[in-house]
Symmetry: C2
Subunit: 327 residues, 2 copies
């Protein structure tokens, strides 16, 4: 096994977030369950955007946010994701590079624009996401740089991209390349809707031993295990992955490493402003801890601290000096 040039290389959606505040009545009128994520097409994106208030745009994407956090914590991070050859694509590429994340996926010259996520933030800080994936679902296996994948200690995959066929095929190839080079593969389950659509496929790839590190929240692990009993869900999965990490919102986070359970509480947050990116930054803190050779427990605490920073302001990329917040 050769030396690593990168700590983590992520493959995920390349998305620009469009944030606007909204009240509960707006969510009700649009029949949007608070806290949910749904995929929408261009026509629905245009319709909903027309009803939204003045917005603010920032680069997003779940795994991209995680790489932003890893880099902010001093980790060597790279991101692979598909933007289009347009202004939002330029913004995405600028922002992730400005954060020190290696990003070299060529812009796609197809007939869809760079993906957008219309995020409605209610006064309680919850976010309701409407994702128009655009170019990001056209990530083709030919866009991968296999040498880059081999150079990273951990390959981190986002389940959102496991649903459509083209990027899933790219991820499947990336897993092969990483494992052939002796690298570890991490997967985040992203969202219960992804699990509902690809449960057999997730269970197959996990069952085949291809996932070394699995990130999930409570709802996601229940959906994957096909149960409503949290302990049963953890037990069903803990033997299938060497390292299982489950976030439980304000109740902290849990890791199970080779059968041993480790729990840490959530970081204290004065006011929850916007929960967008909490899971993404938790993963960032954890991965940065692993890259630094920290214990699983210390890595969990780093994840909690990073998640605490992100929910105390608007947007899913860190604004404060994350390093200063670490345990």
């Amino acid at each position: 096994m050769t030396q690593t040039r990168l700590d983590v290389l992520a493959i995920g959606d390349a998305i620009v977030d469009v944030f606007a505040t909204a009240d509960d009545a707006f969510l009700d009128a649009q029949k949007l369950p608070k806290g949910s994520m749904r995929l929408i097409d261009s026509a629905e994106a245009t319709r909903l955007y027309g009803l939204m208030g003045q917005a603010r745009e920032t680069s997003g994407g779940s795994a991209a946010n995680t790489m932003a956090g890893v880099s902010a914590l001093g980790g060597r991070a790279a991101f692979v994701g598909q933007v289009a050859d347009d202004q939002l694509g330029e913004i995405f590429a600028h922002d992730i590079r400005a954060l020190g994340v290696e990003f070299q996926t060529p812009a796609w010259r197809g007939d869809e624009p760079t993906g957008r996520c219309l995020i409605l933030v209610t006064p309680d800080g919850q976010r309701t996401m409407n994702t128009c994936p655009g170019a990001s679902h056209h990530l083709h296996v030919s866009a991968l740089d296999e040498e880059q994948i081999r150079s990273a200690a951990i390959l981190y995959l986002e389940a959102y991209l496991w649903v459509p066929d083209t990027p899933r095929a790219a991820m499947e190839r990336a897993i092969e390349v990483a494992h052939e080079a002796g690298r570890k593969v991490a997967l985040t389950l992203s969202d219960i809707a992804c699990i509902a659509r690809r449960r057999d496929s997730f269970l197959a790839v996990i069952g085949a031993g291809a996932i070394d590190m699995l990130f999930a929240n409570e709802n996601e692990i229940l959906a994957l295990a096909g149960t409503t009993d949290f302990d049963a869900a953890v037990e069903a999965l803990q033997d299938k992955v060497p390292l299982l990490i489950v976030t439980c919102s304000e109740r902290g986070a849990l890791a199970v490493e080779h059968g041993r359970r480790i729990h840490v509480p959530a970081a204290w947050v004065e006011k929850v402003v916007d929960t967008t990116g909490a899971g993404d930054l938790f993963a960032a803190g954890f991965l940065a801890g692993q890259a630094q050779g920290r214990s699983v427990e210390h890595s969990l605490r780093m994840g909690s601290a990073a998640a605490g920073e992100i929910i105390s302001h608007f947007g899913a990329r860190p604004l404060s000096d994350l390093k200063a917040l670490m345990p």
Copy 2:
């Protein structure tokens, strides 16, 4: 004189702001005087953007920000400005309409993109602006809707657009249309660089009695009057316009109406986060007060309150309920 359908119609730059934090060393290295505004071309915009950190995008433009504020205060506002047929143009149009401002200028299909302003915010809250005007300087007289201009009680003009020939010609025609309909014309001096380049032209239009309401800050009125003595500058201009309004940052604001001076203090602000838009929102509060038939003193207080809101957060469009902050 027929009834008005609008309180204020503004003509100005249609710009998307790109905010990033920067430290003093970055400004020094780039030889950018703190607090300044400069015009840059596409090549310089690309170079500087590449050096900037992760950014956030929000719609901006000085007079457009002012109309956002007038609308937030319950005024009937319209905006005329030139965007290109691109994603940033869509964002600009969406945002200003979402705030209730009438915006119907057709997108320009030329060879320049929608204008951007790269704004570097230092830890002391000061902003240093680098404007790449793009399509906004291509506002042609043919883009005006003369019936719309006639329907507004006040025509509000931004000096930034008085410098390039094409939009200045459009503004000159708009002044004729407004005056023929018995409407008032307001001008904001925008920036000392504009005055330096078009001082004779500003003095000519003011001297001809075409400006009923002149907005300036201290530096701008000194530059226009060609003196370093503030009282002398006010005296030189107060007889040339029925209503002169001068903002003096933390020392409040001054109006001179037919020779009578009225001063109000600045609103109290807990922490100045970002001064971008302070002058724009001051004008919004003042214009909204005038539209409500308030006294000049009360209108000045409304301007101060609106400016106080905008400098207490990032961005140049209001985030709080401005109406609730009014005196």
